[in-house]
Symmetry: C4
Subunit: 229 residues, 4 copies
Amino acid sequence: MTQILGRRIAAEFLGTSFLLIAIVGSGIMGERLSGGNVAVALLANSVATGAALVALILTFSPFSGAHFNPAVSVASAFQGQLRWNDAPFYIVAQIAGGFTGVLVAHLMFGLPVSFSSQHAHSGAPQIFSEFLATFGLLLVISLGSRFHSQAAPYAVAAYITGAYWFTSSTSFANPAVTLARSLTDTFAGIRVADVPGFLVGQSAALAAACVLCRWLLPPELSGESGTNR
Amino acid sequence: MTQILGRRIAAEFLGTSFLLIAIVGSGIMGERLSGGNVAVALLANSVATGAALVALILTFSPFSGAHFNPAVSVASAFQGQLRWNDAPFYIVAQIAGGFTGVLVAHLMFGLPVSFSSQHAHSGAPQIFSEFLATFGLLLVISLGSRFHSQAAPYAVAAYITGAYWFTSSTSFANPAVTLARSLTDTFAGIRVADVPGFLVGQSAALAAACVLCRWLLPPELSGESGTNR
Amino acid sequence: MTQILGRRIAAEFLGTSFLLIAIVGSGIMGERLSGGNVAVALLANSVATGAALVALILTFSPFSGAHFNPAVSVASAFQGQLRWNDAPFYIVAQIAGGFTGVLVAHLMFGLPVSFSSQHAHSGAPQIFSEFLATFGLLLVISLGSRFHSQAAPYAVAAYITGAYWFTSSTSFANPAVTLARSLTDTFAGIRVADVPGFLVGQSAALAAACVLCRWLLPPELSGESGTNR
Amino acid sequence: MTQILGRRIAAEFLGTSFLLIAIVGSGIMGERLSGGNVAVALLANSVATGAALVALILTFSPFSGAHFNPAVSVASAFQGQLRWNDAPFYIVAQIAGGFTGVLVAHLMFGLPVSFSSQHAHSGAPQIFSEFLATFGLLLVISLGSRFHSQAAPYAVAAYITGAYWFTSSTSFANPAVTLARSLTDTFAGIRVADVPGFLVGQSAALAAACVLCRWLLPPELSGESGTNR
């Protein structure tokens, strides 16, 4: 069982690393090549991130469920899909994976590791945007993937590709991703000073989504019947 | 049963809200970033709307069928897929959801809520375009999703992504969406004065699609055998 | 039986009409909005055509197989998937549908129906390109859809989206589409003088694909055992 | 059995040929039309390659597994999915198919066959990028397609579309593709001098992925129980 937990943790670490490589790497490439047209860069960034998510969720979901996101792991624990005892291991693996992914992306593009982003994402609309982005993501995962498990990778990836465009914050929607992106001063970066606001918005969305899903889902699916996996 | 209807109405309200957030939000973002190249903005808008539809239909279809569109609800009632008694609740939830989505998108992007669009969509070709867009959408839903229910979310989303480009009106194809978009003076807006023409085109398409489907579908699938769900 | 053939013919007519609306309409819209960047216009055109194909094949395949293409109908007859007696009705419906689609697209965009394109597609490389495009399409349909029938709509649509870019002729790969596109002097047009070369390339590909599939497919799937549907 | 091996080899040859036509052809078209905006050209190139891969894998996987890549064939042999005796035939077919595809693409676009690319891809970050690109691809194929075989074509295609953007080398991730692309002095080319570094990175990734998969996969799936197909 410990060994099995080891494999699950490895899957979360690897998957979150590759997710950050995809986000940060495609942001660097998009910005370099787009000649100043930010829409073209974001189109590349959003299509590449969504495409990577399809591949990564299909690859790692048989091992760990392919959360890559502390908010998803906590919501899963709340709904009885993940043991509460395992959640801290998942979250540490996701945060470590995110940091590793940013480092690897910088190495691969021959960039110094600055560890301080200058990209501002401040103000109440941005925090509200993160609330909305995370709330929607958790509904997609908690409801969509419960009834259409085969389609879940496409639903999640499509949601993120869309939400890059339809939210004003470009939809981080993930505390591990938010922390990791504060380490890069490239297209996908976020100022350290703006991280707490994002985490507040994401946490509020986690609470709201759990309450809504408990009402929408029938009792036998909403986690009231205990914790199992 | 009332409680179950409540959940279905909530799903239509939430889904249509997010659909309008996706349409209006990605339109704002696309226009802001594309430096005046309208094709790049519409590419972002069409890809984001289609991607959001994949996620939203997969998320809410187990609850309400994920219509998000009064024309779809009426066609479903006509074909025996929705009780006529439930249709008014669906339609009110869709219209309220659409208005809410536009409001939320404006808040998230820090824009005032102007409640009056200046985007002209007038003339007979535009009305014919809405007829065509809605007629095609209803065929995709009534025929495609009847025989390939697993693939329906992809069929509908792909149709809308394509129809943004292949119709001269950019394919509203939805009375609730048309009403809601008259409230925003951004990329996705439509002048109030042009709304009635769009609704006429969409209604004519509803009638034409119902007649065609009754002929194409075998009697046991065409709704002649009564109303049930 | 006659009535059932009527429904199949209607499905081919409607599907091919919408396919031409998608090709010609998204070409007009892409050219109008892209400010002279042909790559952006072709990106819109290729994404919209592929997306429309996903929706149209899912919608009409339960009725007629969703060929929308005389080369596909003849290959199907050769492989025992379509009665030879039905093939002429299919082909007439496809050609009539293609002409209708071009007319409808012009009406919808408020354009005169010129009936003469000036877009040159001449030279041996273009004819070779049509050979290649059609050969690949017929392999995808004859082999891919035989073993993965659920995935066929995505395989065909993805092939066409890709082939718009990887062939020098932008991959018409369809005699009915070629004839219809000679009627429009817009982005998707082709000079009447260049049509015969395209038809020669497409016909040669039809012969080559049928021979290759007869070798690759086991006898019980290659149509040697007679004609049935 | 020999004849069956013949069909499998033919499928690898045809599939790899079409893959190179897609990569090189869409690169030429993208560069010609994009008016100097390299991001738009790469967007076309990445979308076209991914779309082609969906179609090609669905078409040829029933015959040969649709490897189109010596690294995939060796990893498959290592994991007991391909007989070691068959691997050399696969690899020769892939390399010959790649060369043929480049030739065909040049003919189709009316270009001379130069046989010497000037596109530089040198330096340690590029080699590291190829390590990463290939490592990720082999995880997607070895893990993802083992548990979700129906979804494998989409996972692989999505990975490649994303990796064109998120790796600094634009993700060749395939020795046969690398060799073939050294023959074209177009958008997708690579200098012959830079090929060995790419092959080193790809080979190191093959070793790393095989070790990781042996640990992650349960013994009955990791190839320890012998070689069969």
